[in-house]
Symmetry: C2
């Protein structure tokens, strides 16, 4: 199965490019007050370590905007300033060196929008139009009880036009609803009508478990349809978890690779080794690994031999023992309690690269 | 967006029916030794409580098979016996009252398969053909390095023919690979070639987080395509978690409803209430609720008012206070620290039905 990715306009965000054939990037947003420089820097550094490739910060006040240049100095990834309603904060964020701003152009009077766009042009930064079903324009809402995907697309196209009328084309668009179905419909519709890169996300997706599932279903389906240039998983949780989930979605579709890809059985009455414990420990050990490696942890030989054959490293339970496989071949037979130690030894032999792998891009 | 579900053959499994317009059921499998009656019963009861609708148990030995009738007496949901290679265990499981067995017909000599099928016919139980990329027939494997979806489909069709040659048509088919892409391709191909109900799953999907994501992406995509009559999420974790994830996948696509559907923001610099803590607590409180209810927990009014309008119950942070909404209308303004108590009070007013809701089935 090949994903046929839609080639969108290429947009530069700080030291990264998105759209076209460029990798689909994993984003997150801080939940610290941006006015608190120390807390925000600390969180962004954790996000970078987890694999965050673009970070967004809320800018609700002037102190937050003023912090941007200071924050920028200490981080490596592009920074996006999220602004609502205030042209002053948008302009200050741009002047402070934000690599992108996210606004809803329709929220600003014409003269203010012109000023914002002028500054963005001068600084050569793009703007994301962030349509959200929870904050649609009033005139679109009046006729309906519920926000429809059609209304979201209408709002997006209207906002795009406001920008194009000012000869501004360095745009990224998002169209988020808090449920997978509306989000999917809206992005699919818009993707047919515009060539700007799309930032994917289910907004306010919910708690760690339900939000992860909603996002995986929704973002995963769109990516399979070739839609999406950056992704953000929204969770009511530590944003580091958003990055982890974002990467797992991309890995699950073999769009990008990073660190360990674990195949492990759910264990059943046939299991000869402690798969649950082993797989959890292996996951912990490999958490910060960058080099792609496929590891299989299988309780018995029924499916174990087949999986071991396809993995870089594998352990398979047999009668009161365990087999370690390397590149599909048996390396040794060991007592089950030595399994973790053996796997750890084999993993230590792997060189850990500093840069995350970027698998073939699907065109 | 409407899901156009494929109408498959209707199959009876104990007191449940699958296929056609019947609800897509959530399954799991025990990981206790089935020979240990107490442990197995205890686990199945937890699974039932979590919303498990069909349970599978591994039958690797005669003691496990002999336990089936005893187990059946204490549980309410249909029980499926999972058997590999041994006709004796398959026959014993059927005689002990298993509501379905799962085998790979090609693993048995013709005369033994005939005997198994004869017993299944007599007891009027269906058989699942469980194709798994890790245990494909040797002759299919010889020509290739990696198991392809085409090979899996070929294996399925060959196994179906073995059963149809014995005039047995009460079949359910699964086609699991440990990755989303091959699994999706295989099911899509097979769905075009057969009308038997399909049991969906990514096999050996991995640990709690990565396995959840792989399953949500893969199963979610197939369900969106109208494919699938039962689902099982495989996790190297407590099987109760598999049920939770299975339900969340169905809920995320509005295929079925059960208990709380939480919309909660990821919090940002603008948040006025502790969304992470509140949403986690609400999730815990509502865990065993059956009546569908949509709850929004939003840090600020930017998207909060829109989400509150669409929810049954909502809390939205405003300047140093919180608004409680009921059915889209403001109920009261309270100090943020009273939020949990107020939500709890409102939830207690909701009658908790015993049966899980089954939303409209999409045809």
């Amino acid at each position: 199965m090949k994903i046929k990715r839609k080639k969108t306009r290429i947009i530069k965000i700080g030291n990264k490019k998105i759209g076209g054939n460029f990798p689909i990037l994993v984003q997150s947003m801080t939940n610290t007050p941006t006015s608190n420089f120390e807390k925000t820097i600390k969180q962004i550094k954790s996000l970078e370590k987890a694999g965050c490739e673009i970070v967004r910060v809320g800018v609700p006040d002037l102190k937050s905007a003023k912090n941007i240049s200071k924050i920028k100095k200490q981080i490596k990834i592009p920074l996006v300033a999220d602004i609502h309603f205030s042209a002053e904060l948008a302009i200050e964020s741009i002047e402070q060196g934000a690599d992108k701003i996210r606004i809803n152009p329709g929220n600003f009077p014409k003269n203010q929008l012109k000023e914002i766009v002028g500054r963005a042009k001068k600084r050569k930064i793009p703007i994301r139009i962030g349509i959200n079903s929870g904050s649609l324009e009033k005139d679109l809402l009046i006729k309906h009880n519920q926000v429809t995907p059609e209304m979201m697309v209408k709002s997006a196209l209207r906002n795009i036009k406001l920008m194009e009328d000012l000869n501004f084309y360095e745009l990224v668009i998002s169209l988020k609803a808090p449920d997978a179905l509306r989000t999917i419909s809206a992005y699919k519709m818009l993707s047919l009508k515009t060539n700007y890169p799309l930032h994917l996300g289910i907004t306010e997706a919910g708690t760690e478990v339900s939000g992860t599932i909603k996002s995986a279903v929704g973002i995963g389906h769109l990516l399979l349809g070739g839609i999406g240039d950056t992704i953000r998983v929204s969770l009511s949780a530590d944003p580091v978890k958003e990055i982890r989930v974002g990467w797992e979605i991309l890995k699950s579709l073999e769009i990008r690779e990073k660190g360990a890809k674990i195949v492990s059985c759910p264990t059943c009455a046939r299991s000869e080794i402690n798969v649950i414990e082993l797989s959890q420990k292996i996951e912990q050990i490999t958490e910060e690994m960058e080099t792609p490696i496929k590891i299989a942890i299988m309780g018995c030989i029924v499916n174990g031999l087949g999986e071991a054959k396809e993995a870089d490293l594998a352990i398979v339970g047999i009668k009161k023992a365990a087999l370690i496989f390397k590149k599909g071949k048996v390396l040794k037979k060991i007592p089950p309690k030595k399994a973790l130690g053996e796997l750890r030894k084999e993993l230590a032999l792997k060189k850990i690269k500093k840069k995350s792998g970027n698998r073939k891009i699907n065109n």
